[in-house]
Symmetry: C2
Amino acid sequence: MGAGGALGKQPYVCGLDAAVDVIDGKWKVLIIWALNHQRCRFGELRRLVPGVSEKVLTQQLRELEGDGIVHREIHDVKPPKVEYSLTELGDELNTALGPLGAWGKRRMAALEEAGRG
Amino acid sequence: MGAGGALGKQPYVCGLDAAVDVIDGKWKVLIIWALNHQRCRFGELRRLVPGVSEKVLTQQLRELEGDGIVHREIHDVKPPKVEYSLTELGDELNTALGPLGAWGKRRMAALEEAGRG
DNA sequence: GTGCGTACTTACCTTGAGGTCAGTGGGGGC
DNA sequence: GCCCCCACTGACCTCAAGGTAAGTACGCAC
C-alpha cells in the first residue's frame, strides 16, 4: 500500500483518506502509540514494538518524521544517541486515534468473549 | 498487509491494533464512509468508490461482512439486487473514525495551504 | 440479435511493502 | 582478544494484496 511518507498519494477523497495515508504502514500506529507514553531511543522502540526489523523501523520513523508526526533528535555523543518523540501534530493524531483504539478494545473484548463461548 | 476478514491476525497488542486490522485494506475506509451516508447497491458502491475493481470490492465487502461491520441483503429478483448497509457495529466504527477524519481534513487543508505557498 | 446493466467468480500477473541478513565504526565490559 | 550495543544503511528475496481481463446467467431496450 502507499506508505509513502510525506505526501503519500494525493489527491485524497476525504479526510479519512488523508489520515489513513499517514497511518498506513504495518507498524506506524504501534510506533505512535509507543511514543505517546514516552520519548524513546531507537533501541527502546525496537523493544516496545515487538516484531519490527531495524530497517522497517527506521523507514517508518522517517516517513512519520516527513509527515511531521515524529520529532527526531540526534545527540552527537560517543555511543550514538537518537531520541524520538511526538510532535504537536503527532499528539493530535494520537488523540484522534483515541476513539478508534477504544472501539478496537471493545472488539477485542467481544472477540475474547466469543472465543471462550 | 493482513486484510484477513474475520479475525485477521490476533493476538493484538492494543485496541488500535485490533481496529486497524478491521480497517486494513486499500478501500475499506472509503467503503465504510460511503455506506455511512446511504445504503447502497453493489453498482452504486462501485461508482462511489472510484478506482476499485469489482473483484476487490466484493472481497473487501465480504471481509467487512465477516467482521460484522457491513450487512448484506439479497433481494431475489429478476435483475439481481443486493443492498449493503452498516451494522450497528459498523456505525460505531464510523463514529470512532470521526475524529481521525477530522484530523485528516485539517491536514489536507494544511497541505493545500503549503502547496499554494 | 447486439449490447448494456445486474452482481458476481475465476485465473493469471504485477508490484512493492516488508523480511532477512550482512556491513559500518566506534565504545565499553570481561 | 572477543563480543555486544548503539543507530543505522544497503542488497537481496518473498509473498500476498491488489489489478486485469474474461466468463456467467438473466432481462430489458433498441
